[in-house]
């Protein structure tokens, strides 16, 4: 065979279809924007109709979005949205909820403790680890320069 590890890469690139970058970006913008719009509507509704302060309405909005995302994941719809929306559905908090609920559902067949509980942070684990770590660094910096 005339190919080796060095020159085979070119052949692979020649035959591998490219992802539709522009289309993916536009869809991500639309879906991500739509999720944020829903969040804004919920937030403003809390403030306008329930008389909740803006400060309190924001975490409540996050809880509602997470709840909706978990429900859509359970119904098997979120992955369909994700297929079209791409990063637009992954980046918002709903994507994080989806990444927690999807392994939780998938591993429930192996039992509550060693299945669901042990695997629930399989995908979200890195987000949590680096999230905690960066909060620690931010906290440390704010303490030092206060």
């Amino acid at each position: 065979m005339k190919y080796n590890k060095d020159n085979y890469k070119q052949v692979v690139d020649e035959f591998t279809p490219k992802n539709k970058m522009l289309k993916n970006c536009v869809m991500a913008f639309i879906f991500g924007g739509a999720i944020c719009l829903v969040g804004e509507i919920i937030n403003d509704s809390f403030v306008a109709w329930l008389g909740i302060s803006d400060e309190e309405a924001s975490p409540m909005t996050a809880v509602v979005l997470i709840g909706i995302s978990a429900l859509l994941t359970g119904l098997g719809w979120y992955d369909k949205l994700g297929k079209i929306g791409g990063a637009g559905t992954v980046v918002p908090i709903t994507g994080f909820a989806n990444s927690v609920v999807s392994p939780a559902l998938e591993f429930k067949r192996e039992g509550l403790i060693l299945g669901t509980a042990a695997n629930i942070f399989k995908l979200a684990g890195p987000v949590l680890v680096f999230g905690y770590f960066s909060s620690f660094i931010a906290g440390l910096l704010s303490m030092l320069f206060k």
Binding site: M1, K2, Y3, N4, K5, Y8, K9, V11, V12, E14, F15, T16, P17, K18, N19, K20, N24, T73, G74, G76, Y78, D79, K80, L81, G82, K83, G85, G86, T89, V90, G95, N98, S99, V101, S102, P103, L105, E106, R109, K122, L123
Partner: protein, 330 residues
């Protein structure tokens, strides 16, 4: 020795007496929908897990193959099977229910020709008269073991393939009528450094080229049809390119099961089908019927496998490819 080059010559008749195929709903909506023996309606088939559904497909495929041909366990010498899951779960657990002497093998998606090649050699060696070869794959059980949870929202790469939900059982016999296995070439592992688990076709294509080239060189047979297992559009293109560059084009009589089992343009499978069940289901239905109907007389059937390990991949290893060839003649 019954060997020419790296290819084994099956001297006595080893007849492919019958096959039985079971596929999932999506495969049952594809271009081969009328060719399968059974199409299951959902991905659980009355079981509570996908793994149990997959082993049920293997078990029912063998049982129905036996019933169709009035075969009883006393007449079957050996069951050879394999699948994609860790500890070849589907095969071993199906074999537990089938109560036959069992050899479990792992060849990733090359399993169909691996089991049939071994079966043919065992029969030709005089150690068995009737052997049943089985393999299966299931989209959901494979996705969860090799990739991400199914409900996780995200986009699949354009070069990614769709694991076929399907199983096929093949009855090989020393006597009777049917297409015969004449030559067997077990391939060597070829790895040209592809690390992208979303591009299995590219990882396997060099192995497919190597085994096909070896087989054609050893036997010199002019086949009516050459079919690889699950290279998909990417791997198929690369194999064609490699033979064209050697001035030995096979393009006019070459196809790939991954591009046959699904309608690539309509069924949203990206680069095509994959999995043990892909080549198995296409051979057991479409190709076997072509041989029976004399539409083709000489078939070179080459299942291809990506011996991919998610753990090794994370540790920086590439994906080794393998391909095993069967020369089948009417």
């Amino acid at each position: 020795m019954k060997k020419t080059g790296k290819t084994y010559i099956i001297k006595d008749d080893v007849v492919i007496r019958d096959t039985y195929t079971i596929v999932g709903k999506k495969e049952g909506q594809g271009p081969l929908k009328d060719k399968f023996d059974m199409v299951i309606e959902d991905d659980l088939w009355g079981e509570d897990t996908w793994e149990k559904c997959e082993l049920k497909m293997q078990k029912i495929a063998v049982e129905n193959l036996k019933n169709k041909n009035s075969l009883i366990n006393e007449n079957i010498d050996l069951l050879i099977s394999g699948d994609l899951l860790n500890q070849i779960t589907s095969s071993s657990f199906a074999a537990r229910a089938l109560e036959l002497p069992y050899i479990g093998v792992y060849g990733a998606c090359s399993t169909m020709t691996l089991t049939m090649g071994l079966g043919a050699m065992i029969i030709d060696g005089g150690f068995a008269e009737n052997v049943i070869c089985v393999t299966s794959s299931h989209f959901c059980s494979a996705e969860r073991q090799y990739r991400l949870p199914l409900e996780m929202g995200g986009q699949r790469h354009m070069s990614a393939q769709w694991t076929v939900t399907g199983a096929a059982a093949v009855w090989l016999s020393k006597s009777g009528k049917g297409p015969k296995i004449k030559h067997v070439t077990f391939g060597k592992i070829v790895d040209l450094g592809v690390k992208d688990a979303n591009n299995m076709g590219a990882a396997m294509a060099p192995a497919a080229y190597d085994s096909l080239n070896q087989h054609l060189q050893d036997t010199g047979i002019d086949y009516d049809l050459i079919v690889t297992g699950d290279l998909g559009t990417v791997g198929k293109g690369i194999v064609n390119k490699m033979f064209n560059e050697d001035n030995k084009s096979i393009e006019s009589k070459y196809d790939d099961c991954g591009t046959i089992i699904f309608d690539i343009n309509k069924q949203d499978v990206h680069a095509g089908g994959s999995g043990c069940g892909c080549s198995a289901a296409v051979f057991g239905s479409f190709l076997y019927k072509k041989l029976l109907n004399n539409e083709i007389k000489k078939l070179l059937f080459t299942a291809t496998g990506a011996l991919h390990s998610p753990t090794a991949n994370l540790q920086g290893e590439s994906i080794p490819g393998i391909a095993h060839c069967l020369g089948i003649e009417v």
